[in-house]
Symmetry: D2
Subunit: 167 residues, 4 copies
């Protein structure tokens, strides 16, 4: 009568103080800061623990996140909620832009636009969200990104506009 | 030296089978189906449990969701991740459209666009995401929505495009 | 065998120096400047002459443009090109934001998003594009707008994000 | 006292019957139809004559338009109106999708999203708008595009969502 570990439908998450994390980044360039999260010397932010995604690759102007879509991401119409792709894309596109910023500069996302081309399910397997900057200027930056599975099949894509605060 | 319940930084979520939930909706109009979730005779979908949001009000063409932004929604730059507003808006705008559909019809979200005008924090208090349909046609529908706090201050707004499958 | 004045398929446009127009605005608030265009004491900008649209109403945070869709706006698939609604919406939303700015402040449009819900044709008659600000802050502003015909039927709607430069 | 050909500030455009053009496409695949416009055996559509842009290159899933930004494209703040980039991107992205469709299939644009990263002026010189499909499915398709000058400098970029009608 066991329903197995995967179908217990309970999950406990833990996270670390996000203010301390943000504070740790204050004197680092975007690339230095995010690399510490990739390497594990800084904790992943709470949203990553919540949604269970990880930053997997990072270079200047490019970021890759991965996640395994699961039942706890489902919407009321029987597939993974679009919010998973939106959150992944927002993260990856924002980090791609952040990775280009020097120490002392900051950014905030003004808007994201996300296209959903196929539903993800708990059977999709691990997906990668790859984002790259399109434009980085003095005051604004844009980026785009795609969510693909291990065979390269496309699930969602998006773009973002960020405002940049330079010292 | 206690850090209190709120700062234990652990949270356990539980959810119910989303396929059974989707199945329950198969012979109901959108409004009938979503009302059962509002009333609690059907469970909230897993994403609602995960992000801790609830559908609070529903009428034909309009849906309101509520959430209390918390530390577990935070991003690496020290405020609530944009994915929370994006997920709320996607839910509320999708449900506003779903609420106009007869039994046997379905829909899927083609795209969302979200503007972030102010960051949410764990001090923001409960926010409401109100969405309304703009256009519902034979094959497509659009909606918009806003995320506001209890004083009416705006945090985010968005629009969506859905495709509709009619029997 | 006459094809009539309307179907001669030729049109001559004239316009005035846009740099002089922009210069005239330099010491005026957005509302003062745009009101001079509405009243005719400043010329409409070249794009208005090209597309044949006019700013019809203006108040702080709100702008209405009108145009009569015509054959010269057509695309290769036999209806009015989406660029007409996009250009109208960009104009009206930008002016709605501009109308809130004091003398010495400027703005530029970072992005627009436009939904097309019905095609316009040369038989649609005059359409109105009504835009209103959603948010105006220190550094950014957002607005939305709708294109409707004389009976109120919706053809397109959109949103915009602008960056603001304050003195 | 001559003000030169370029500053006469008058321009006469002519165009051909767009319904005949659309009719000519009815039994052709998208690629065959659009190639006839590229080659000149079918006329460019009225919007192309109005805005003075041309389809320059075409292959399955990809389209390139060119235009020379001019004073008659200007907005009231002294640079080229964003409607030019929006119209170009809508055209190029729509044609990229159209070029993948068999005879008998049609499409319509549901939405476009355009980022403006730099203003164009009458001194910018000829710009190219290159668009490529991202996803083409049974019922919907998406594409993106960029507007660049002859040195490759980026002025605007965008994405689109189209609905497809298959026979």
């Amino acid at each position: 009568m066991s329903n197995g570990g995967n179908t217990a439908r309970t999950r406990t998450i833990t996270w670390e103080d996000p203010r301390a994390l943000a504070e740790a980044g204050r004197n680092l360039s975007g690339l230095e800061y995010l690399r510490k999260i990739v390497e594990g010397s800084l904790p992943r932010p709470p949203i990553g623990a919540l949604m269970n995604f990880t930053i997997a690759e990072l270079s200047e102007g490019r970021a890759v996140f991965t996640v395994e879509p699961a039942e706890y991401h489902y919407n009321p119409i029987g597939v993974v909620h679009g919010g998973l792709a939106a959150t992944l894309l927002d993260s990856a596109m924002g980090c791609a832009i952040h990775s280009t910023l020097p120490a002392g500069a900051g950014y905030t996302t003004l808007e994201i636009k996300v296209n959903f081309v196929r539903p993800m399910t708990a059977e999709t397997g691990t997906v990668r969200c790859e984002a790259k900057v399109i434009y980085v200027g003095g005051r604004t930056a844009t980026a785009d990104g795609r969510v693909v599975d291990e065979s390269g099949k496309l699930y969602a894509h998006g773009t973002t506009t960020c405002i940049i605060f330079r010292p």
